[in-house]
Structures are given as C-alpha cells and as structure tokens.
C-alpha cells in the first residue's frame, strides 16, 4: 500500500504549498472544492474537456467538514461518497495560481468563481473562501504527484482516511463504491433495496417458499429462507433469532400453515422488534376478521392485528376471493421498496 502526504511547506515564508503524493494504491482524482464551485485539479479518467461545467454534487462524504451543497444544471453525477477530505484550506487574499506553480502533469484545470476564466491556464480563489481538497482513492493503483501552491494557509489536515498502511484498505474503498453504485441503481428503478425472511412450514411449504424466493429475486429483493440459507453449523433457533433481529431485515413473512409456524408466531409476537416487521398470512377462512376467533391462535392473530396490523388473508383454494400467498408477498415486498425510495 502506498503513502499519503498532505503537509504544508515549512520552508516557505511567503508561499505555502500542499503537496499531495500517493503511490501504488490508487490513482486519485483530486478535487478542489470551494464554497461556490468545485474545481477538478486532476482526474486522468475524467478529463475536464468532458466534464466542463458538469459537476453535480449529490452529497458529501464528511458532512462535518463539507457543510456546503452545490447544484449545477449540467450533470455528470460525481458521487462524493467515494471522496475523502484530505485538507481544509482557508484562502487568504485573492490568489492566482499560474501554470508555472501548479504542476498539473498534463491534466486540466479550470478557473473558478468569477475571477479568471482564461481557459485552462490558471486557478484563482477569493479571499476568505474555504476550500477542501478531496481525493478519490478507489481508482486503479498508480503513481502520481501533484503540487498546488498559493498564498493560502493550510489550517487543517484531515488524516482520517490515511491509515498506517496507506490511503484506504480495499474493503473500505470497495464499500464506498458499493454504496455509490447502490444509490445509482435504486435511483434508476425508483426502489429501495429490500431484505425479507420467508418463514413457513417444511416440505410443501418449503417448496412454495423456494418458488417465492425466485419470484422475489427477479424483483431485486433479497429473500432469505432459514432452512436453505443458514449453515447447519449454527443451531437454527440461534441463527434465526439473530437474523430476525437484524435492523437490515425489512419484513418477515410468516405463513401460518402448521403447528410449527403457529409456535413461531407466538414467539415472534412477544418480541417487539421482530413483531413490528412481521407480516402474517392466514387462510382467509381463519382470518380473525373474517371468522369468529374461538381458537387461541385466531385470538392471538386478532391481538397481533390490533397491536401491529399486518395480518393478511390469503387464498386457501382456487375459488377463494383472496389473493395467493405468493401474490401477496411479492406485492407487499415490491411496494415496500417503492415506499422506502420515496421517503
């Protein structure tokens, strides 16, 4: 892994510099972000000729250091999730950075905010502006060296993203890119990711759940079936309880088809964190609102319905007016993802 240096030049009396040097970990795009406009100093993979006037900042990686938000009419989305703040600068006095003092290595730069737009030859900043130097470390490993000099004071250097071994581990960089990609995908289908658990009886119930899982997968839903997906190395009662309590599990569908599922329903009803995510499916003939709840199970369904809602009647045979379990579950899961996307 490489090293990152971001430091002020102690030998300079009148001019300070921020030297950014990274090696063998990633080829960073360096973005100089001001309160008004971002300036892309270097990005071998995003030549400014293509990116002219086209930055749309979605949000910042580190809100506490980059409180400002920008919007531009043109758009190449520049997802700042994968950018990290290297240094925060306060610019003192109007500064002009001439080509000789900026080693761009052939990359392009743009003038920012109203002082100098003389093509790709200079960079300037207004007095008192706060600028951030950001770097994207998720790129292909290579060497680069960049010096940016102006009469500004480096008042803070953020080293959060600099680990002992270098810039960022592969998993950290990968996680950032995963999240950036996820947001893009969710935006395109207008649906939030959904993770559900399918509970039910064995044998016929298990076959039904496997078909249901395939249908949900086609809708982009992660559908867990405990019997299939959890390893036998861990006792099922432990693995299931752990899984169902996880915050990222959105919905738990339980089809009351057997005494085993009825027992599970009784347990989950008592556990508030799980009960809220529970979506109970009951044969329409035994739904507590469609029949007289004489049995304990029906009575429990009525209590659950009153406390949490989400007890759904499903068809027991083809002639039934109620939808099938599969139709109900798929519709609910998809709609849940659409609803989350709009929140």
């Amino acid at each position: 892994m490489g090293k990152l240096l971001a430091s002020a030049d102690p030998d300079s009396r009148h001019r300070r510099s921020v030297d950014l040097q990274a090696s063998s970990t990633s080829q960073a795009a360096i973005l100089l972000l001001t309160a008004d406009q971002p300036l892309l100093i270097s990005s071998p993979e995003l030549p400014l000729a293509k990116a002219r006037g086209v930055f749309r900042i979605t949000h910042y990686w580190n809100e506490s250091l980059c409180p400002h938000r920008f919007r531009y009419s043109d758009a190449i989305p520049l997802h700042l999730e994968r950018w990290s703040v290297l240094a925060q600068l306060t610019v003192k006095g109007p500064q002009i950075v001439r080509p000789g003092s900026v080693n761009l290595g052939g990359w392009l730069a743009r003038g920012f905010l109203g002082v100098n737009h003389a093509g790709a030859s200079s960079v300037s900043a207004r007095d008192g502006r706060v600028a951030f130097i950001l770097a994207d470390w998720t790129r292909r490993p290579t060497m680069f060296w960049q010096t940016i000099k102006w009469d500004s004071r480096v008042n803070n250097v953020v080293r959060d993203e600099v680990s002992e071994r270098g810039l960022m581990s592969m998993s950290e960089a990968s996680l950032r890119r995963i999240r950036a990609t996820l947001r893009e995908l969710e935006h395109r289908v207008r649906r939030h990711r959904v993770t559900v658990v399918l509970m039910g009886s064995n044998r016929q119930g298990l076959l039904q759940r496997r078909r249901l899982r395939d249908a949900l997968s086609r809708e982009g839903v992660i559908a867990l079936i405990p019997e299939d997906d959890f390893p036998k190395d861990v006792p099922p009662s432990i693995a299931e309880r752990k899984a169902l309590s996880m915050e990222e599990i959105d919905l738990i569908f339980l089809n009351l088809q057997s005494w085993g599922t009825a027992t599970e329903f009784g347990q989950f009803h008592e556990h508030e964190q799980i009960a809220r995510k529970l979506r109970v499916l009951v044969d329409c003939h035994h739904h507590p609102l469609c029949s007289d709840p004489r049995s304990y199970l029906s009575d429990l369904c009525l209590t659950h319905l009153a406390a949490y809602g989400h007890v759904y009647p499903i068809a027991s045979n083809r002639g039934s007016p109620c939808p099938s379990a599969k139709k109900t579950i798929v519709r609910l899961a998809v709609r849940y993802g659409q609803w989350r996307a709009l929140r």
Partner: protein, 93 residues
C-alpha cells in the same frame, strides 16, 4: 442495462452493503471452499452473526454453500460466477 438486469445488480450490491459481510465475502473469495468455522476464525466474527451474513450473501446470489460431512466442518462456501464479476468490477477501477 434493462430493468431485470438492474434489479439483479441491485440485489447483489445490496448483499455486499455491510462491512462484515464484505469482509466475509473477500475472505471466502481468497479461499474458495473455506468452511464456516474457518471463516469465522479468519475474520473474527461471532458465529451467529456470520451465519446471518453468509445467508444474505447466499440469498443475494453471491455465494453458494455446499455441505460436506467431514469431522465437524460441514458447510463450505464458494463465490458464484456473478459474485466474482462484481468483485472484479469493484477492485479493477
């Protein structure tokens, strides 16, 4: 990409959206066929939690699980072809 492809990718990327899960996936990608217990030891994750994360990876289509009854190590994990493609994309840029 058409909608079904986007939904498929959404499911897979959602499967990786967790630091622990990503660590588990990277570890089993380095050592395909690793057993559940060895994986728990390697990434130092509590077994109940690892069971959950591996379940999600499997449900997301990123790993497959095979059972082998040798001593106490019964389940082994392998990345799927789709999972390998996603990983290559993540590390290649």
């Amino acid at each position: 990409m058409n909608t079904p492809q986007i939904l498929s990718e959404l499911r897979m990327y959602a499967g990786l959206d967790s630091e622990s899960r990503l660590r588990a996936y990277l570890a089993l990608s380095e050592t395909p066929g690793i057993s559940f217990n060895d994986l728990a030891r390697k990434i130092r994750l509590e077994k109940g939690l690892l069971a959950y994360h591996l379940g999600v990876l499997k449900a997301a289509g990123l790993v497959e699980m095979k059972y082998e009854r040798m001593s106490k190590k019964t389940s082994r994990y392998y990345p799927t072809e789709e999972g390998k493609k996603i990983l290559r994309r993540l590390v290649s840029k």
